[in-house]
Structure formats: structure tokens, C-alpha cells
């Protein structure tokens, strides 16, 4: 954890606060606006900066009027499911491509990478038909499958690069030991590629948790909705309660924000810890 502050410690970079403070304020502005609006009772006060007149009523009634807990559980399941799948399948493929040189491995890599280019907007209809044909509609698989597919390409690429960066001596030593390739993969390569694993888990977790359109279309039975759909309940046909809209957005945003704030240190060190080059 002792990074290397020594290399810059002697420099006076305190002046950088001058640039960082206004930028940080700008970065926080929309979030502050949203939280502020969530705590106001009246639509007219949404932009008020007065410290009085703050209330938790919106948050409470939003929580009471929808089954947000179930939505959070659903979101967690599809997110974890797709993270595990992307890490497992991606690391296996990355290992196969990095450890073995075989005829067609180049083509395989390129074919797998082409998945990175899929724009979800372009493939909604065929994807939907696929999910229906596979009988996955209104099941967690309806989201875990497509999320995994959409994240797989990046995962394969990152794992392959990480495995290729491991020293050659490592694999020679391992094969002299007579260890099976799967043992080499599971006991040696995968743990050493922690950076890649953390990176992939972050990217995949965020993408899965935050998806809206596939969740809206593939989860239609009222039991599998994810948190990203929570705001719909508070949209009237013509008129909506604005403070409640702010409140539901805030409730959806806060847990992820807290998780990441708490885990932020772990992420940065997790990203760097495996990287002993």
C-alpha cells in the first residue's frame, strides 16, 4: 500500500488545488442538484439552496410505494451473474489464446473481439427474438446472457494481454512441474492477472447495473424488474411529482455511490497490486 510518493513528494504541487477545487465542484454539481431536489417538498423549491425546508418525506414515500428492495435484489443478481460469467468465460478464452499458439487462434481472437463493436441499439430486435426463442424472457438469464455477450470481448482482450505480459519463465517452470494446463490457469495465471480481473469486474458490473433498455424490454412480468426501472412508477401519464422523481433517482444512485466510495481504495490498490512487472 505504500505507493511511491517519494518521486513527487519533493515537488510543490499544492497549486494544483487551484485547478482541482473548481473542477471537483463542477463534478459534484449535477449530483448535488439531484440530492437537493430529492429533499425538497415542493416542486417550486427544487432549485432552492436554502438549508431549511429539507425533508425525507419524498424518499420515504418512494420507498413505501414501490418494491424497491426486490428491484435491488434483482439488479444484484443479474450484475453478479454477468460479472462471474464474463470473468470465467473471458479468462478461459484469454488463457487459451495466450498460452497456446494454434491454427486459427488469430481468427478466433478477431471474431471474439468483433463483439466489442455491438451497439445495443442496433441489435435489440434480434436479441429480443433470441431471448424469446431460448425461453429466457422474464428470467435472470434474459439479462445475464446479453450482458455477458456484450462484455465478453473486452474481457477476452484484457485477459489475453495480461496473460501475455506474464514472464515466459513462469510457463516453462510450470510445465516442467508437470502441472496440468487447467491447474496452471487456475492456480497461477488467474491469480497473477488480478489487475485484469478487477478492471473487468468494474466495467462489467457498472454496465450491467446501469443498463436500462434491455431490462425494460426483457423483464416485463413485474417480478424481475431492476432498479433502473424504478422511476417509471412515478411518472404520471401527463403530470408527475417532480420531487418524487428526484427522490427515486437519488435512491437508485446512492447505494452504488456508497459502495464505490467505500471500495474506492480497494479498487485503486486492487488495480495496481497485481502489477509487479
Amino acid at each position: 500500500m505504500t505507493a511511491a510518493p517519494s518521486r513527487v513528494a519533493r515537488d510543490r504541487i499544492g497549486w494544483s488545488h487551484l485547478a482541482l477545487v473548481p473542477l471537483a465542484a463542477l463534478w459534484l454539481l449535477p449530483i448535488a442538484l439531484l440530492l437537493n431536489g430529492a429533499l425538497r417538498a415542493d416542486t417550486a423549491d427544487i432549485f432552492s439552496v436554502s438549508p431549511t425546508g429539507l425533508t425525507l418525506d419524498n424518499l420515504i414515500s418512494v420507498w413505501r410505494e414501490t418494491d424497491l428492495l426486490r428491484m435491488f435484489v434483482n439488479s444484484t443478481i443479474v450484475t453478479l451473474g454477468s460479472v462471474v460469467a464474463v470473468v470465467a468465460i473471458g479468462s478461459l478464452a484469454g488463457f487459451g489464446l495466450a498460452y497456446y499458439k494454434f491454427r486459427g487462434s488469430g481468427v478466433v481472437l478477431l471474431v471474439l473481439l468483433s463483439g466489442i463493436m455491438l451497439a445495443p441499439a442496433a441489435i435489440i430486435v434480434p436479441l429480443y427474438e433470441l431471448v424469446v426463442d431460448l425461453g429466457l424472457l422474464n428470467s435472470y438469464g434474459a439479462l445475464v446472457g446479453p450482458y455477458t455477450a456484450l462484455g465478453l470481448a473486452a474481457s477476452v482482450l484484457l485477459y489475453r494481454n495480461a496473460f501475455l505480459a506474464l514472464p515466459v519463465e513462469l510457463r516453462e517452470a510450470a510445465s516442467l512441474d508437470g502441472a496440468g494446463s487447467f491447474r496452471i490457469f487456475a492456480r497461477m495465471y488467474l491469480p497473477l492477472a488480478r489487475t485484469a480481473t478487477v478492471t473487468i469486474a468494474i466495467l462489467q458490473g457498472l454496465a450491467a447495473w446501469n443498463d436500462y433498455i434491455l431490462a425494460l424490454l426483457f423483464m416485463t412480468d413485474g417480478r424481475h424488474e431492476t432498479v433502473q426501472l424504478a422511476f417509471i412508477a412515478f411518472q404520471g401519464q401527463y403530470f408527475s411529482s417532480l420531487p418524487k422523481q428526484f427522490a427515486v433517482m437519488a435512491i437508485v444512485m446512492l447505494p452504488v455511490m456508497i459502495v464505490f466510495l467505500v471500495a474506492q481504495r480497494a479498487f485503486v490498490s486492487g488495480l495496481s497490486a497485481g502489477a509487479v512487472k
Binding site: L110, S114, Y128, L137, L216, D221, I232, G236
Partner: protein
């Protein structure tokens, strides 16, 4: 549909693909995988038979236990009213458990498009008249006989004049009635916030020039004369339908049907006037960056604007406000400069409580929510689906919903109307006589008009050239 399964055959037979470029690999790779199904598809694409295009009334079987019915809608109230409305139905029909899948309106079309052709949509669907019903007719159940049985032979006259016809007009000739009117509105009425208007003289605009004066006065007080949420596009076509009709009633509908041209002087004049309302600053700042719901209407409801063009669908919302009896008034858009005299109103008045101007701009009418059921339901689901429609469009359901929308059934009103509100409800029914048709038969035409309006209003494009494009789009849509 399910015939095109993924073909992985091509992957290993691609000696021709070098790893030299991803481009070649990805294009050719995809191409090779494509080739087989593509060739197969050329010949045999007509083999699909939907088979779910029933032309006879469904046979309903009352279920022995409880049936779960799914409603797909964008037009369902927010919580907690949503649950109240659902409970009201479940109490009326205890055999049915209702599940509501609500979409934000911009995503509803996407939801229908993916699910309806696959038979995976909700059992009951809320639809808009016009192109939405037209597209999905083949998947919906005919309802005419059921309506007759439920409401009697005179059922059609129980709904506001023209609302059933609006649905009949939505489908191609010879197709059955597949939806029932649930909400019906007259649109293009200017609602007035009396308190705000009082700050600029207190009288409703009686001419364009008067409107401009009111706006100037209000702007100096950081208020606006009228709100327009042009980002949502549909208000834009609404205004054009209205303004063009001042010069020639029915011109837009005629042009869409190919009986006139969109480059007709009346349409050009209407579009030019729409542009003029912007240069004369009648509106809130930046209408084209403002969505209609909620932003534009929030301005009005929060006391920042004197008027807003809300359909009668807004009546219920206005009526639910605390000082409903003294805060609001209604009028029509005053006669446009240079427009011919058009005494379509007859005995009717142009505003409540004050008149705005003789020969005022015509409003439009719409069945903004119609209820339909899928054609491929099992008999007990059919029973449940029809029970829902029967209730929603019947007296009890319409009354239960009247707190949040304007019912399509005649004589259904929320409780507690005073004489003035009674008059407002009556007035809306009267306005229907001269109202323009709002919905378009083809989306292509509507979209082309939206693009033309934005180009003229935002980019100062030439109206005639833009309207020529609309003509082309409409022609292609009809073909």
C-alpha cells in the same frame, strides 16, 4: 421468425481470412456466416403465416380460479393513484389479478415492436389511435360484438361523438374494430392561469397582436405568455394542424391522404405563423429544448406561464388542484392575422368565462388512449381481458379513472364540479364538432412534418422546400 438460427459453420472454414486486418476478418467473417441464411432466405421468406388474424369474435370462458392479466401501458397514473385504480378493478372483477407493465411513452413503441409480433406482449394493450392501432391490428382481437353484448346495440353513441369513428378510421378499410375508446380529448385549447394573466391585463388574448403585448408585459416580469414543449415533437404537429386549418380546414388530413399537397398555401401559411410565434417570443425560453411533459406543463402549473395548450386530458389534473374553481380559465387560440373568416363555432363560445375571438383557431380531437386485447389469448384470458376492457370503458371504470384523465364515455365526470366547471366539460364536448383530426395514418408522414417544423423553426430553412420533402414522405408511406 425462428428459422434463422445462428450459423457457426463458417468460422473454421475461413482459410481465406488472414489475421492481417480485423476489418477484413470481421466483415468477411460476418459475411460468410451471413451467406447461408441469406441465400436460404431469398426464396422462402413468404412461408411465414401469422395465423393470428382472427376476424370472428372470441369465445369467452369464465375461469374457475383466478386469472392473472397483464396490461401494457404508458397511460397509467403514478403511484399511489396507480395502485388505487388497480384495486378498483380487482374489486369489480375479483376473478382477475391485474399486473401493470408501464413504459415511459418514448419507449412504449419499442416495447410493442419487440413483443407484439413475438406474441410476448401484455394481454391487454393501451394504444393510441392512428398509426399505432393500424400497425398492430393483425394481432388484436375484434371487439365489436363484445361491445354490443356488454353495452347494448346503441353502444357507439354512449361514447363522445367521433371517438369510435376515430378508432375505425385508424385501421385499413375492411378491418374490424380492435380497440375501445378509453380516454378522449379535445386538444389545442389554451388553458389560462388567471393569476398570471392578471399581471398582464387579465383578459385572454383576443388577437395575435394582443398575445404579443401580453407576452412582452409578462416577460418583463420574468413570466411567459404560453408554454411549448417542442422537444417532444408531437405538440409541434398539433400546432401545425391547428394553424393550417385556419386557412383551409382539414388541409393536413387531405394532404396526408394524397388529396392535396403539403406545399399548399394554407400549410405554408400555418408553418410561417408557427415560426412567427417564435420570433414574436410568445413562448418560454427555448421550446425546442423543452420537453412537453413535465417541463413545459410544469411552468404553467407552477405559476410561471399565463397559458398552456393542454388537451381536455389536462382537465382532470387542473380540477385536482386546490383552488380549482378560481385559478383557471380556458380559451381558444385567437384568429390568426391574414386568415380568412371561419365561423365554425356557430353557437359555441371561444372561451370560458370570457370569449377570446370570433373565428378562433380550431382545436383537434383524439382518442388518446384506446384499449385493445391480443387475438391469441386462451379462452379464460380472453374472458379476463374483455372484463378489463368492459370495466375500463364502462361507467364504473371511467368514473374511477376520471380523477386522472378525461373519460371517453359521455356524461362521466369527476365529483364536485361547480357550475363553471360543468360548463368547461360541456364546452369541450361542443368543440368536437369543428375539431381537426389530429392523428396521422402513417408515422413516416408525421416524422417528416416534425423534421420540417424543426428545420424551419430552428434552422430557418425554407418552408416550401421542407414541405416538399413531406409530400415525398407521405407519398412513399401511402405506397
Amino acid at each position: 421468425m425462428g428459422t434463422q438460427k445462428p450459423q457457426t459453420r463458417g468460422i473454421d472454414s475461413q482459410g481465406l481470412i488472414t489475421r492481417r486486418t480485423v476489418l477484413r476478418a470481421s466483415i468477411l467473417g460476418a459475411g460468410a456466416i451471413t451467406a447461408a441464411p441469406l441465400l436460404a432466405a431469398c426464396g422462402s421468406d413468404s412461408g411465414n403465416d401469422t395465423g393470428n388474424s382472427p376476424r370472428t369474435a372470441p369465445s369467452l370462458v369464465k375461469p374457475s380460479g383466478t386469472v392473472t392479466l397483464t396490461l401494457w401501458t404508458w397511460a397509467w397514473p403514478e403511484e399511489p393513484l396507480a395502485t388505487e385504480l388497480k384495486n378498483a378493478f380487482e374489486q369489480a372483477v375479483p376473478e382477475v389479478k391485474l399486473e401493470v407493465k408501464k413504459f415511459p411513452f418514448p419507449d412504449y413503441e419499442t416495447g410493442l415492436r419487440t413483443a407484439v409480433p413475438n406474441g410476448t406482449s401484455g394481454d391487454v394493450l393501451h394504444l393510441q389511435t392512428g398509426s399505432m392501432i393500424r400497425q398492430y391490428t393483425q394481432f388484436l382481437s375484434p371487439l365489436e360484438d363484445l361491445a354490443k353484448q356488454a353495452y347494448g346495440a346503441d353502444w357507439e353513441t354512449q361514447f363522445l361523438d367521433g371517438s369510435v369513428k376515430e378508432i375505425r378510421d385508424s385501421v385499413a378499410k375492411g378491418d374490424p374494430l380492435v380497440a375501445m375508446p378509453q380516454q378522449s380529448s379535445i386538444g389545442g385549447v389554451l388553458w389560462v392561469n388567471r393569476a398570471v394573466l392578471a399581471k398582464a391585463g387579465g383578459t385572454v388574448p383576443t388577437s395575435h397582436e394582443h398575445f404579443v403585448e401580453i407576452s412582452k408585459e409578462l416577460r418583463s416580469q420574468n413570466l411567459v405568455a404560453a408554454t411549448w414543449g417542442a422537444k417532444d415533437n408531437w405538440p409541434n404537429t398539433d400546432y401545425l394542424v391547428q394553424f393550417a386549418s385556419q386557412f383551409k380546414p382539414g388541409i393536413i388530413a387531405a394532404a396526408e391522404a394524397g388529396e392535396a399537397s403539403f406545399t399548399d398555401d394554407a400549410v405554408v401559411a400555418g408553418l410561417n405563423y408557427l415560426k412567427r410565434t417564435l420570433t414574436d417570443q410568445l413562448w418560454n425560453a427555448a421550446p425546442f429544448a423543452t420537453p412537453a411533459f413535465p417541463d413545459a406543463y410544469d411552468l404553467f402549473f407552477n405559476g410561471k406561464a399565463a397559458t398552456a395548450a393542454i388537451g381536455t386530458w389536462g382537465t382532470a389534473a387542473l380540477f385536482a388542484t386546490p383552488n380549482r374553481l378560481t385559478d383557471w380559465a380556458a380559451c381558444l387560440w385567437p384568429k390568426l392575422p391574414d386568415a380568412p373568416q371561419d365561423d365554425w363555432m356557430g353557437q359555441s363560445v371561444s372561451g370560458i368565462p370570457q370569449a377570446s375571438s370570433p373565428s378562433a383557431v380550431r382545436p383537434w380531437r383524439t382518442v388518446n388512449v384506446a384499449t385493445a386485447m391480443r387475438g391469441d389469448l386462451t379462452p379464460d384470458k380472453q374472458w379476463a381481458a374483455w372484463k378489463f376492457i368492459e370495466w375500463s370503458c364502462g361507467e364504473a371504470g371511467q368514473k374511477a379513472g376520471s380523477a386522472t384523465y378525461t373519460p371517453a364515455r359521455k356524461g362521466i365526470r369527476p365529483d364536485g364540479l361547480n357550475a363553471e366547471w360543468q360548463k368547461i366539460y360541456d364546452w369541450h364536448n361542443e368543440l368536437g364538432k369543428g375539431a381537426e383530426r389530429r392523428e396521422f395514418a402513417f408515422i413516416e408522414t408525421r416524422k417528416a412534418i416534425e423534421s420540417a417544423i424543426a428545420a424551419v423553426c430552428v434552422n430557418n430553412a425554407d418552408p416550401k422546400a421542407e414541405l416538399q420533402r413531406v409530400d415525398a414522405a407521405a407519398k412513399r408511406a401511402r405506397a
